[in-house]
């Protein structure tokens, strides 16, 4: 459970203000909002990478500021947007680094840690990538490896910053299926996305941000209406359905009726 109270986030100027939301266990929460609305900044604050400008964050009822880096890492894992990595670690080495919070200060990962890392790769069906160099993998494969690293971390909360941004159509839904399953397993999952369809199909709860404020929040099915999405993205959006699944499209100017 992640709770924010009257939270303001930003570097020196607030980007997002007065945010009070609760991310509950067993739920997939989607964060929607146009570019620059502060999703990444919010996530960095939730991860303790950036101090809040005002308000507070708590994890399972404990103030985030009272937790050490190690204690926090055992509770909450982070899948950042694709990062540039310099050194050619193998995929399994990258996933093993997810075990850092369980490895003693002067130790190296144990056999148990290796097992967790291999299990995480297997869970995402990428065990065959284990000994390949991470820097040589495609963007989608790297994203899956980083997700595996988060799984290996032994946390119960997961924050994903646009996890599908660099994935192909098939990998997109594979990653989202995995993430949705984690929520079903009881994890607290928060992800940001630019695709409202993903939010409508998979999220239990959505948080909608615009212009540095909370625009709306609630059950995905209730609040994600054409009206709200039109306001959110300043364009014309239609919602339809395929085999009973909601699908959302932004209409090109020339095709609007």
């Amino acid at each position: 459970m992640i709770e924010t109270k009257a939270l303001s986030v930003g570097y020196s100027q607030p980007i997002l203000e007065d945010l009070s939301v609760t991310f509950a266990p067993g739920q997939l929460h989607a964060l929607l909002g146009p570019n620059g609305c502060g999703k990444t900044t919010l996530f960095k604050t939730l991860m303790g990478l950036l101090p809040p400008l005002a308000g507070s964050v708590s994890l399972h009822g404990k103030p985030l500021s009272s937790l050490s880096d190690l204690e926090r890492a055992r509770q909450i894992a982070y899948v950042p947007q694709i990062q540039q990595h310099v050194f050619p670690y193998t995929a399994i080495e990258m996933v093993l680094m997810g075990r850092t919070a369980h490895v003693g200060m002067f130790s190296t990962p144990s056999a148990e840690d290796h097992d967790s890392a291999e299990a995480a790769l297997a869970q995402l069906q990428i065990a065959h990538l284990a000994h390949q160099e991470f820097t040589k993998l495609s963007g989608g494969q790297r994203q899956l490896v980083i997700l595996a690293r988060a799984l290996a971390q032994g946390a119960s909360m997961l924050v994903l910053d646009e996890p599908t941004a660099s994935l192909d159509f098939g990998n997109e839904i594979r990653v989202l299926d995995e993430v949705a399953r984690l929520a079903t397993d009881g994890w607290t999952v928060v992800l940001s996305t630019h695709n409202p369809t993903h939010a409508m199909q998979l999220a239990n709860q959505v948080v909608v941000l615009k212009d540095g404020r909370l625009l709306d929040q609630g059950a995905a099915k209730q609040i994600l209406t054409e009206d709200l999405l039109n306001t959110l993205y300043d364009t014309s959006i239609g919602i339809g359905s395929v085999d009973g699944l909601p699908v959302c499209v932004a209409k090109p100017k020339a095709k609007r009726s």
Binding site: K44, M47, G48, L49, S68, D69, L70, R72, A73, R74, A77, Y78, P80, Q83, Q84, H85, V86, F87, P88, Y89, T90, E93, M97, G98, T100, A101, V103, M105, F106, S107, T108, P109, H131, T135, K136, Q153
Partner: protein, 340 residues
């Protein structure tokens, strides 16, 4: 034991064997050649397996000149390579090394000041350490203040700027030095040389190197995590600040100890970690020992060539540059992929 462990073991054994072979070779050849028989007898005698009437001159040459020099080359090579591996990981930048960051020159400036003041070898080391540490601190602060797109480039450029400032100050020290006594010592030593090594230098430098090695071994796993960058390291559960400072200080201490006994020797710290990484990958548990062995072999080979190539000693810094520069160009061509 997985595949990489096997590869690492094979490399470690091969390099270890190479190092022993090179050491024997280096002990035997030189101005006063020592026969294999004499060498074998010396070794047998020193481990108590034989007591023999070894030729007195040969014994003296080995004990007082040849072996301290072999040991110093091994230590300096190993130390500069591990410092390079640590700097590259800590700054997440495969283009940095003790010399490129200006640490070697900064330490050289400190050491030259020590020589100018006619201090003891221990004090010269201390001066070298302070000089090196100040340089790396200034370079890092400068680079982190300049917010640009390409932090790799900015760090290298800051190193060059501060390094050349330290170089200019060094020239000033040279002008002030006694032209008959101190100046030749400073000049020759700035080009890097093991010619003046004695056992005292070695015993003065070893403790600093061993002390600096301790955090590198202890934090061998955290080194990997820190090389991902501050934000990832923090979200994985490590507070990067302290550990990073300790490791950078350790690498600087090592560099300074090497500079204090052997002068400014470039390229080893830049090139050897690269080659080690190509052999066993970036995992620091494997990278550190392989870099050390590789650096030791390289330095010993180069030093042996430096003292046997011509009648007069060739300063070793000249040779490492002649070898290191082309090797680095080759590395630039082959490993560019990983450096976006």
């Amino acid at each position: 034991m997985d595949r990489t462990d096997t590869v690492t073991a094979v490399w470690a054994l091969s390099l270890g064997a190479l190092l022993i072979g090179l050491s024997l070779l280096a002990a035997s050849i030189g101005q006063y050649p020592i026969s294999w028989d004499d060498l074998a007898q010396y070794i047998a005698a020193s481990i108590g397996m034989a007591e023999g009437p070894l030729d007195a001159t040969a014994s003296l040459v080995l004990t007082e000149v040849r072996l301290p020099r072999v040991a110093a080359a091994i230590v300096a090579g190993a130390v500069l390579a591990s410092a390079g591996a640590v700097y590259q990981g800590m700054f997440r930048n495969p283009l940095v090394s003790p010399d490129i960051l200006g640490v070697s020159t900064g330490a050289g400036l400190g050491a030259a000041l020590g020589i100018l003041l006619s201090l003891s070898i221990v004090m010269i080391q201390l001066f070298a350490f302070v000089g090196g540490l100040l340089t790396v601190a200034v370079v890092y602060l400068l680079a982190s203040r300049i917010q640009r797109q390409d932090p790799t480039l900015i760090l290298v450029l800051s190193g060059i700027v501060i390094g050349s400032l330290a170089g200019a100050s060094l020239s000033l020290v040279k002008i002030l030095a006694d032209p008959y006594d101190q100046l030749p010592a400073i000049t020759f030593w700035l080009l890097g040389s093991f010619a003046a090594i004695d056992r005292g230098d070695l015993t003065a430098a070893l403790p600093a190197c061993l002390v600096a090695l301790v955090p590198m071994i202890l934090f061998r796993w955290r080194m990997n995590v820190l090389s991902l960058g501050d934000e990832e390291a923090k979200s994985l559960g490590i507070n990067p600040g302290q550990t990073r400072v300790i490791l950078i200080a350790a690498a600087t201490l090592m560099t300074s100890a090497a500079v204090a006994i052997a002068g400014v020797i470039g390229w080893v710290g830049l090139v050897t970690p690269h080659i080690a990484r190509m052999m066993v990958g970036p995992n620091f548990s494997r990278l550190l020992p392989i870099s050390m062995l590789l650096g030791a072999c390289f330095m010993l080979l180069v030093d042996t060539v430096a003292r046997t190539l011509t009648q007069t000693e060739t300063p070793i810094g000249i040779l490492t540059a002649f070898i290191g520069a082309p090797v680095f160009v080759w590395l630039l061509f082959t490993t560019r992929r990983g450096w976006q």
